[in-house]
Amino acid sequence: MGIGFLLWTRACFAADTVRPSSPINIFAPASTPASEIYHLTLFVFAITGAMFVVVAGLLCFAVFRFRARKLYEASEPPQIYGSNQIELAWTVIPVLTVVVLFLATARVIFAIQDAPKPPAALDVTVIGHQFWWEYRYPSLGIVTANELHVPLSHLNHPTSTYLRLTSADVDHSFWVPQLAGKTDLIPNRVNEMWIDPQRPGLYLGQCAQFCGVEHAKMLLRVYVDTPEQFTAWVKDQHRPGNQDPSVAAGRRVFETQACMNCHTVTGTAATGRFGPDLTHFMSRSTLAAGAAVNNAANIREWLKSPDHFKQGSLMPAMQLSDQQLDELVAYLSTLH
């Protein structure tokens, strides 16, 4: 049965290769923790599958073979009350199976959780917020949101990424199935997990712990960059905030409205931390944690009424005039 599951999902995705983003699937691992789990899964499927075949086979056989020919037969079958030998047999066999399964599992638990941290590993702090993700790269001095960039890891010189996870408000959970299992983000607590993605590309996931109204739209996007791409991205993130005079009007709106209390744009008066850092807002391809594509029309709609994309998001509708909206969109569009 397990194998059936597997073939079925595989077949499903074979037909879907045209999709822009890689399909989410725990059977297509792209990083060591995920592939360790994948191999363990196959083993567990094999054992549970065998148990299923045996017991379901016995059950079906019994139902079929011992059915009453007529609904009510007068005579009763011979009465059997039990057998200690048989009871013993079907206690011991499951116990042995449990031992085998447990040993295989324990190996993977320790391999993933207690793996020594390579000195070259990149540290990223992930902070969960209702309903978006904050990413901080302490060693690189970068703060960004919603779209995580990590370097590709080569088998000969692994550059794994260590995520330190915590939360600013309620519980969340970080789950990108192709990279690793999930780990919760819990306030007042720091959890750790690691990935070493071996194929570049975009990996999708989403928050896996109910965290409030918009839990469904707390989506995850992880970009695994080649070394060149990653260096370029880091360089971009290090550029100072845009000071383009042609959008000064929009910038003024941003700095005089409440925007600045919740958002940061380095180089301006805006230093809020309640919402995502917008310094390099245009370097992200989506807005509001993946709720919409990041383009001028959607930004305008978002500023006018965040509920349009995310009912119940914690960004308020600011009641801006059309002119203010246009100026703001023009300004935000320059934040590369």
Binding site: F5, D16, R19, P23, I24, N25, I26, L40, T41, V44, T48, M51, F52, V55, A56, L59, A62, V63, F66, R67, A68, Y72, P77, P78, Y81, G82, S83, I86, W90, T91, V98, L101, F102, T105, A106, I109, Q113, D169, V170, D171, S173, G181, K182, P187, N188, R189, N191, L204, G205, Q206, A208, Q209, F210, G212, V213, H215, A216, K217, Q311, G312
Partner: protein, 564 residues
């Protein structure tokens, strides 16, 4: 020896009391003030069936919303209320009361008693449970909450801290949730105490513990487990209310409290709760499978021992719900092992049921059909449970639709199937009329098909990364088609349950008269009239084996010759 004479036939001669000349109001009054275990049992069952419809309707609304990506049937806020209420209702207002209802109705009859040990406590417990449920649902109209008037709890049935703190749930909906569960929790405790006392002190002459029907044995174990598990839940609810209103900081992370402590409290209740719900389902199977296979239960002592073992081990596995909260590798390994170990006694039970059927003459009446469905689904549920106990696999599948599929396999595939089996089996005893077999078969097959369409499919959604508790999903994930299938299955189950409802009502007036013992069964409840008179048995029965009616029907080959 004098007590070799079975006195059971005496009780058969009793005719049920005439009630035809009572007015409607008098009858209603009779039901409200009753302390009769049978009436209370029926009240429990009716109450739960009512909430089964309510929570089922909530589930169908959830499934309409998830028919396709970005659907707009329910808003995010309403969806969150519905899944919270669906879960809370099904566990606390359907599962527990209906199973306690069966226990209430059946245990005194099965052990040859005239009532429960504490009839007034029994009535009190029922009404506490009932008012707990009404309090929970009153939140829909009275729960001025987060999103304005007309709110209801929306923090998930697990209500993880700190989402329940006043900072995040400022209205009163969370208070309704906590208070309703405290109130109905006290009702549950009362019933559990009552069952334990009844089993220990009310058995008829000759019925030693080792001759007690397995149904009574399992309910006895369940009641003990209930006493242990409801307590931490109640404690946690009280702590939550202290946090919310008296400035406590147990779970208030903003002030240094711990979110993880809530999880420990909740799951030390929540995991054994699964067994509190599923063991009564086992209890039902233990009665029905032998009767319809025409054989004694295989391995009675092993069944009792396995139940006790399950109850004991289930107290040490709760943190398998917490594999993703960042426990150490050693704790993860420990809870993996303890969880896998529950599989051993559970496996023993399944094997014993199959062995009971082995060599029998199986009659496929509706109760047995549901029990066979139960066996098959419970086997699969156990195996997916083993998969989830493998903590690395759980890191992937935790909080995904795979988990939803797994526990609905337990709660619906095993428990609800056996609840239906029990209703088909004992309805004749309680009403004096048979349920229609024809409608019963329709009910069974439609429900079975709908069940598998819905819940088999959900496993795949889990593999594909769909988390639970989401009110909508993105079109680019490839989850559309499967969600559509899941929803269709849900509606097929809905139709099946409607057929069941029709059957319940129609058969009450038009069903075939049942007689005292329509299934040719062996336990004491079938020795009295259907419905039984208020005093159950005219004279106290005396038994010499586990199957007193078998002895009676087969004087040439009675059970007591073989039992030690």
């Amino acid at each position: 020896m004098a007590d070799q004479v079975l006195t059971i036939p005496d009780s058969l001669s009793v005719s049920p009391p005439q009630i035809a000349d009572e007015t409607f109001l008098e009858r209603l009054h009779g039901w409200v003030v009753t302390v009769d275990h049978k009436k209370l049992g029926i009240l429990y069952v009716l109450y739960s069936v009512f909430f089964l419809f309510v929570a089922g309707a909530e589930a169908l609304c959830i499934r309409i919303q998830l028919l396709r990506a970005h659907n707009h049937f329910l808003s995010a806020a309403v969806f969150n209320r519905f899944f919270t209420m669906h879960g809370t209702t099904m566990v606390f207002l359907v599962g527990m009361p209906i199973l306690f209802g069966f226990a209430n109705y059946l245990i005194p009859l099965m052990i040859g008693a005239r009532d429960m040990a504490f009839p007034r406590l029994n009535a009190f417990s029922f009404w506490l449970t009932a008012f707990g449920g009404l309090l929970l649902y009153f939140s829909f109209i009275g729960g001025f909450g987060l999103y304005g008037v007309g709110s209801a709890p929306d923090v998930g049935w697990f209500a993880y801290a700190p989402l329940t703190a006043r900072a995040f749930s400022p209205g009163h909906s969370t208070d309704y949730w906590a208070l309703a569960l405290i109130v109905s929790g006290f009702g549950t405790l009362g019933t559990a105490i009552n069952i334990i006392a009844t089993v220990l002190s009310m058995r008829c002459r000759g019925m030693t513990l080792w001759r007690m029907p397995l149904f009574a044995w399992l309910m006895f174990v369940v009641s003990g487990l209930t006493l242990i598990t409801i307590t931490p839940l109640t404690a946690a609810q009280i702590m939550l209310l202290i946090d919310r209103y008296l400035g406590g900081h147990f779970f208030d992370t903003q002030a240094g409290g711990s979110a993880v402590v809530w999880m420990h409290f909740f799951w030390i209740f929540g995991h054994p709760e699964v067994y509190v719900l599923v063991m009564p389902a086992f209890a039902i199977a233990n009665e029905i499978i032998p009767v319809f296979s025409r054989k004694a239960i295989f391995g009675y002592p092993a069944m009792v021992a396995a139940s006790a073992a399950i109850a004991f081990v289930s107290l040490g596995v709760w943190a398998h719900h917490m594999f993703t909260v960042g426990m150490t590798s050693v704790s993860n390994a420990f809870f993996t092992l303890s969880t896998m170990l529950v599989g051993v006694p559970t496996g023993i039970k399944i094997f014993n049921w199959v062995a009971t059927m082995w060599g029998g003459r199986i009659r496929f009446a509706t109760p047995m059909l549901f029990c066979i469905g139960f066996l098959f689904q419970f086997l699969l549920a156990g195996l997916t449970g083993i998969m989830l106990s493998v903590s690395p696999l759980d890191w992937q599948l935790h909080n995904s639709y795979f988990v939803i599929a797994h526990f609905h396999y337990v709660l619906v595939g095993a428990i609800v199937f056996n609840i239906f089996a029990a209703i088909y089996y004992w309805y004749p005893k309680a009403t004096g009329r048979m349920l229609s077999e024809r409608l019963g078969k329709w009910h069974f097959w439609l429900f079975l098909i709908g069940f598998h369409i819905t819940f088999d499919t959900m496993h795949f959604l889990g593999f594909m990364g769909m988390p639970r508790s989401i009110y909508t999903f993105e079109p680019d994930r490839g989850w559309d088609r499967l969600n559509m299938i899941v929803s269709i299955g849900g509606f097929i189950q809905g139709v099946a349950v409607l057929i069941f409802a029709v059957n319940l009502v129609w058969s009450y007036y038009r069903g075939q008269p049942a007689g005292d013992d329509p299934w040719d069964a062996w336990t004491l409840e079938w020795a009295t009239a259907s419905p039984p008179p208020e005093y159950n048995f005219a004279t106290e029965p005396v038994v010499r084996s586990r199957r007193p009616l078998w002895d009676l029907k087969h004087p040439e080959d009675p059970d007591w010759r073989y039992e030690q």
